[in-house]
Subunit: 103 residues, 2 copies
DNA sequence: TGCTTTTATGATTAGATGCTCATAAAGTAT
DNA sequence: ATACTTTATGAGCATCTAATCATAAAAGCA
């Protein structure tokens, strides 16, 4: 496979690899939300959240639409949920294995 | 969901989010390989590859066994292949969409 | 028009990451 | 014991990332 493909995969994964950005994607599971809803939910600074949203959009994970002064973000492709679920199951498995080592 | 879970997911994704590390995982698809096979295949410096392997092992994605002076690495959990396939299909879709915009 | 709300972005800073070179550590062979 | 092979790691460095504060830009409201 091509080096460009690996780079594109890495970029996508990088965009997802931050707790706040994962929380954003999960929050948008039920539908679009404007920034003014997202950042209080996360309990993070508005400017910080805006940058995280921009990163997810740049990667193609989110898209946005403007309505008046508000900007609504939504998940662009449902693949991301499958990916996060697989990662979640892996992480849970790791925890179980660590627990097992303690017994 | 718990903040710790998001952090664990992020760590896992971070470990995967580098072209060289993705190439390593793909290379190990067919079975274990020692470092002395992996780094020439990648065309990267031995010390560099060793660090990437350590990162993947730390995340629980790879495991290793020592045989004489050699260290053999292998993929610890097949979930990683599913994840990379989903990411690949997403990336391919993005490219198609970009192509479509040019016509 | 002037004020307020909503979002994005410039500047700064602290810390993390990735690469390279050199070398250490461990095992094997002569 | 010495030399060689294989892997890991310390040091140094350049670059990237994330967070914060301040502020700009755009839209709506009084």
């Amino acid at each position: 496979m091509n080096q460009r493909v690996y780079e594109a995969q890495a970029e996508y994964l990088k965009a997802l690899s931050h707790p706040t950005r994962i929380r954003i994607v999960n929050y948008l599971r039920e539908g679009e939300r404007c920034v003014c809803e997202i950042f209080p939910y996360l309990g993070e600074e508005q400017s910080n959240v805006s940058r995280h949203l921009a990163a997810l959009k740049r990667a193609g994970i989110l898209s946005s639409r403007k309505e008046g002064v508000s900007v609504y973000y939504r998940v662009q492709d449902d693949n991301v949920f499958k990916i996060l679920e697989l990662v979640l199951s892996f992480v849970k498995k790791l925890v179980k294995e660590k627990m097992a080592l303690l017994t």
